[in-house]
Every structure is written in C-alpha cells, then in structure tokens.
Symmetry: C2
Subunit: 446 residues, 2 copies
C-alpha cells in the first residue's frame, strides 16, 4: 500500500489516483501529457498523486482497475475515453462500477449541436454518444470540444472524468474541477514545497555538497530531480516530519551555500531566468543555430512578453544560409568548418548585429548519427556568445542520443548567458550618473 | 483483469507491464517519455502493453505494486529508481519481492569508476550504491551512464530494470533488452498493424467515411487516434479475430478511398512526408515564423539529412526583425499589421528569396493570451506559402491553449505545403525532355 500523504496545508489528507485511458498511450503514440499537467497542478496544492495507471480502451479492464482505485482512494480522476469513436468506453465502465445506469442528457445534446453549428461543421451520428452520462453525474461544460467532463460524488468520494485532448482538459481543470476540489478542502490553496533549480552541477555532486545541511534538518523531505544539465532540489513539508518553517530554513541555507548555481527558486525555467535578467537591464537577445534547428529559439516561445527582449533567431542548416543570413565569410567556414569555435562566434556576432540585439547566442553542434559533422565526433557542441564586452566560445562534449545532446547544449548555452548577464549586472555602477546613449548599430551589408 | 493479447506473430502471447518509478513523474515535473518509447517499441513487435503504472520513489509502494504486477504478467519492465541519490530504492523493493538478497558487484563498481575516470569527474561515495544488485541478476552494461540495467529470470518470467535517463535507457533497450526478448520469443520481429496517417479530416468524419468499409471486415481491430489537425487509423491483427491478410486488405481499400487525405502509411510524420516530396523533386524549403518561435523550423530538426532540402529559417518576434531579415517593407507592416495575410505572404516570399529556396512557408499567429496580436483574436493564424507558381495565404482559427494553437497551425501549414508539392509533382510532364536550368536567384538587397 502507498505511504499516507499528509500535507500540512490540508485539513484532511486524501489519496488521489489518476487513470489515464487510451490505447494510443500504451502504444507510445501520444505522450501522457495529462500526468505531467495534473501531477504538477496537484503538487502545487499539497497533493502528490499516489499513482497513475495507464490502461487500454477496454471496458472490462477499465472497470476492474476503477473498482480497485475507487476502493482505496478518496479522489479518482480519469482522462480520455469520452470521445465519439467506437473504441471509447469509459462511461460504460464507470456506470457499471458505481452501480448507476446511463442516461441521455438533453442539455449536453444541445451543447454538442450548438458547437457544431458555431464551427459550421456537420454533426455525425456518433457524436451523440457523448451525451450519455451515469445517472446523477454533473456534466462539466467543455467550451473547446464536444465531450463534456463529468463530476460524480458517491460514498464521500469524488470521481472526475475529463476529456482526452489537452486543450479541452486543461481549461476544464482550471475552471471547473480545481474550484470544486478547493471548496471541498480536497486540495490546498498554497504551494507545499520550496524548490531550488540549479544548473552546471551533477546530481551526485549536488547531494554531496548539500549533505551536511540536510543532516541538520532530518525531518525535511528532500528530493532531487536531474534534467539535462540542470538538477532541481525540492524541500517539502507534505511528507516529511518537519514543518514548513524547517523546510524553508533549510532551503534558504542551501540557496546561500550554492550561490549562482541556483538559477530559480520555484518553477521558472532557465529561459525564464535569462529573460528576467535581460528585462532587468533592458537588454535584448538574438540567437543563431544549426543542428539544434529552432529549438533554442523556441525556448522563448512560451514566455509571455518575449517580444520585449527576444529579437528573434536564425536557423541555418547549410553554409549558404550562414553566409547569406549571418554575414559569415565563406573563407571562415571553409577553413574552420561549420562546427567550430570560429563559426560559433561568427554566428553569435552575426545574428546579434543583424537583429540589432545586445547579446547574441549561438549553437552549432553535431547532435548525432546522420548529421553532417565533418571531422567532429557526435556530441560535439560549440556555444558562441556575443556580448557588449566581446565574443567567446565554449566547446562541450555530451554523450547520448541526438535529442539528449540538443537538450543539454541548449541548457548549457542558456546557463552560460545567465552567468554572463549576472556578471554584467553586478559590474554595473550602482547609481549610474547618466545613462549613456546606446551606440546605433546597423546591419552589416556587403 | 485485462483482455488477453494474442498477436498472430508470436508463438506464445504474453502479458507485459511497465512500472515507471519516480516522484518527479507524479509531481508532473518530467514527462513520462519511457511509456511513449517502450510502448511504441513493443507495439511494433506485436505486443501492446497491458498497463503502465507510475509510482513514487517509495520502497513499500514499489514492492506492493511489483508483487501484483509480477503475479499477473510474464514480463515486467521497471524504469528509474536506480540512481545514486537517497530517494532511489528500486533495487531493495525488487530483492524483497523476488526473495533474493542484494550483493555488491565488483565488475559494476569497476565500470562506474572507469566511467568517472573517462569523464574526468570525481566519483562521490553515493555512486557506489549503483553497484548493488539482487543476487543472480544479470547486469546490463550502460555506456551512457553509471547505473547498469538488470535482467532477472525467475519462475519462467522476466523482470527488466532500466535506468531513468532516456539517453541511457534507449540504447540499453535496443542493444541489450530487445535482442534477449526476441531470442526468448517474447516479442515478434515484424510489425503487427498497418497505420494510415491522415490530415485535414476530423476524427468523427473520418470514422463515418470509413464505416462502410470497416463493416465489410468485422474481425479487423480498427483504432483511431486524433492529434492536432491529424488523425491516425490503425488496422491491427493482434487483437481482432481477422488475420493479417484481412487487415491489410481493409487498409488498402481505406487508403484508396481517402486518397490525398492520407499523408503516410506507417509512422512517418507530416514533416517527413513533406521532406520526401521535396527530395523527390529536388526542391528546397525555408521557413519564417513569429508566434510559433522556432517550432516550425524544429520539426525538421530530427529528420536525417534535413540539410539536403531544408535551407533554414528565421524567427522574427518583432517587426524590426521582419524588416531586417526578411526584407518586408515597414509600410506593409504598419498598414496591415504583423498578423495579417499580407505579412504572412511577405514573410514566405522574403525567407524563400533570402535563403534561395524553392518554397517558402510562413506562420504568423496570435497563439494566445499574453501574445501581442493587435486587433486579432487569440487563435488566429495566417499561413503563407511561396512556391515557384506564386504566393498565397490561408487564414485559420483554432480554439484552445497557445500550445494547441501552435501545434495545429504547424500541422496545417505542413499539410498545405504537402498538398501543393503533390499537385506540382503531378503537373510535371512525365518525361521532361531536357531538365531546364534553374534560374539563378539572388538575395534582394535594398
């Protein structure tokens, strides 16, 4: 049996389970985005999911697992299996386990018809399957799709059924489900841990450095999580014996000990840390990349207000693109190769000057087999940085798959820029008498 | 209990379960990439995972679930929980359930020390935790990390323990685990379904169109899976009563009925379909994007040999970037706005001409709240296409989150280019007497 969860913020700690339904998940055709989303949403409110079970679209299997999960949990959330096609069968399984019959909901039928009318699309007969619900279930409106969610309370427990598409599930969670869970005191209102995010230190080395501090606070629940080039440390009070004050004290001491290795307290990404530093000093950034093909630019995509500091980027797979778009001399490319320190610096400088930015960051790497790398080994990465103080390059070597190399290279590049921005910020005079007029930079034209 | 799986290709159908361990998964901090990877790997070999259970790093919980999964399955695969930090405890749980003691493996210790020496990093004491294994377990070498995998056979069943980091797990699966499973006839050697991937038709409409055909072959296992702007249909013979011949016949008839809606037979992505068409006619592509910030360019990143047809891309968040890098007149931007048909066409034309490509594809969209969209509503997307025959634009409206809007916009853009490439290919004379010399295009310079 699972360990009991005891979040200090909640009156009555409860066991939550998530059942994620869909052959496409077990066949590896769709990533289980619901676990990532719902797990994070619940964690912020002091609840750690006790388990997530992924099951096929098979009524018998779903019913068996639901019966088991329902018996041992206070809240069971299901996702998927509510669609119109014939392989979706969750409603039937739920009705069977809860001993309720399925009824046809005229209101839901109307909402489905209205949605098709709005979109100007023809409703096919199988769409009406989505208007059936277990008797007594509350339909949760779905403004972004045809399948409504369902909320069922029985025996002091809650069953929440959510539609599969993330763009339908996520707003329904925020607008319908979370407020109901808060009202019933099943989730808290505040965060239940402090998280330090670090970059540039390995997981083992980090634990070793923190061990003396952790030993001072034995009741705090400490967990490490390594990503590419970054390790998070969470100091929690929902499972450990110590309370919030102890966890916060330990987190504060750990932060002081680690210094600049910590790039965020909370959930901010490396890109957000970089963005904050750029905004703070009113600086702008442009990026150039080859083998990472748009991934470096895309880390800024989801940041609100990115257009304030992010000028843009250039993806140049071929040398011709580097010459045309980044003004890199052909002689430099033929002498040093596309994957070289010289090219990385020229890319950073070129994109910085052409986009009229303050900082230019570049990545040129041989991510892995199949890439065209000349004499460089797979996993070789050059990061170029052009700043108001000059241009530099770093050479890095990473093992692993092409995707792993790219992810690490991007984080290493962001972390380098972050540390450079911190250094520049600290080097600034505290009270600059007159802000110097920024020298006008133009695009180099040959 | 789960329905029995009976893949025709396998001598003895067996039940596989995947246990994915890690608080970080349940807390939504890391996506469950292992389910996607291992599910797809097994599906190709005729095995559908019966279940995936995600559990916290808690020895008691892991042991309880492992005992249940072990009792009902022929193969249990665990991922994660083998790392050096103190919250990893899978070895202990496995030893308990299988009734074996943990032994210290000198060979593994040597391999860990050697790896640290190669990387020039200092080994900390907790790394040696990874050298413990249940007695009788075979250590699977890990060239990309310190934690070896483990292979255990007992009572005619198999337990496979894999490390958490995907760049360690994936090569270990391919090089160590899959060959052992094939030798023991636990997985097949051939695919066990035919998949048609379609774009531009909704899931319900697709099922309605295919229904008369599906009714002709009642024994074939047909499953639909909707992604953003794309729906896959799988015709399988590992669960249905009909054999491979029937499934393939139905798939062939469905493909003929759907025509150009089908962009791939198999697993190819829309980007791969576009890449194949470009390579087939020896054409090149460049892309320009604003709100999708590098995501359109990045769909080509993972394709081997992308440099053959992908010239590159420009990400321009701000109008200044569009003017400088894409030669869009400032007057056009101020008159029509950044999110407009006119700008989309100018972006496609500008990037096509500047990168000296045959086709230019552009996306300018107001993905969602927080973006800077002028008078356009969130979800408004303009796709621009510049081809040798001229430039066009499409306006699209999508509901949902910013990420959903971007994903659909990218697929819609790729699908439009695909259909245009198909049209151009068919319009070509079957036997061109002399291949015309391509007109030299230069970069417009103001």
């Amino acid at each position: 049996m699972a360990k009991k969860i005891a979040p200090a913020a909640l009156a009555a700690p409860k066991r939550f389970e998530l059942l994620t339904l869909g052959d496409e998940l077990l066949l590896g055709r769709t990533a289980n985005a619901h676990l990532a989303f719902l797990g994070a949403q619940l964690a912020r409110r002091g609840v750690q999911l006790a388990a997530n079970v992924v099951l096929p679209d098979d009524a018998e299997t779903i019913a068996a697992q639901l019966a088991r999960s329902w018996a041992r949990s206070a809240v069971v959330i299901t996702t998927g299996g509510l669609g119109p096609t014939s392989d979706d069968c969750t409603r039937e399984a739920v009705a069977e386990v809860l001993g309720r019959k399925l009824v046809f909901d005229r209101e839901v039928e109307k909402a489905i018809s209205a949605r098709f009318a709005t979109l100007g699309r023809k409703m096919t007969h199988n769409n009406l399957k989505q208007a059936w619900r277990p008797e007594g279930a509350e339909a949760l409106p779905n403004p972004f799709g045809t399948a409504p969610g369902l909320w069922i309370e029985q025996d002091g427990k809650v069953l929440v059924m959510l539609p599969g598409p993330p763009n339908e599930l996520e707003p329904m969670w925020a607008n319908e489900v979370l407020p109901r869970l808060v009202r019933r005191k099943l989730v808290g209102r505040s965060e239940s841990y402090v998280q330090l995010r670090t970059a540039g230190v390995g997981e083992s080395a980090l634990e070793t450095r923190l061990q003396p501090l952790i030993a001072k606070y034995p009741g705090v629940d400490v967990a490490f999580c390594a990503h590419a080039w970054a390790v998070d440390v969470r100091f929690g009070w929902h499972r450990g014996k110590a309370g919030e004050a102890q966890a916060r004290k330990l987190a504060g001491e750990a932060q002081a000990l680690l210094g600049d290795e910590v790039f965020a307290v909370g959930d901010d990404s490396l890109a957000e840390a970089v963005a904050d530093l750029l905004r703070q000093d009113d600086k702008t950034l442009a990026v150039a990349e080859s083998g990472s093909g748009g991934l470096l630019a895309s880390v800024f995509t989801d940041l609100p207000g990115a257009s304030k500091f992010f000028q843009g980027g250039v993806v140049c797979y071929r040398n011709s693109g580097k010459v045309i778009m980044l003004d890199i001399p052909e002689a430099l490319l033929s002498q040093h190769g596309a994957i070289s320190a010289e090219t990385a610096v020229a890319m950073a400088t070129g994109v910085c000057e052409n986009f009229v930015a303050d900082y230019g960051l570049s990545l040129t790497c041989c991510a892995g087999p199949g890439a065209c790398c000349g004499d460089k080994a797979a996993g070789t990465v050059f990061v170029g940085l052009h700043s108001p103080d000059g241009g530099w390059c770093k050479r890095l070597e990473y093992p692993g798959t092409a995707a792993a190399v790219r992810a690490r290279a991007i984080n290493a590049a962001l972390d380098w820029l972050r540390r450079e921005l911190l250094r520049a910020h600290r080097a600034k005079p505290v009270a600059a008498p007159v802000k110097p007029v920024k020298a006008a930079k133009g695009r180099k034209r040959k």
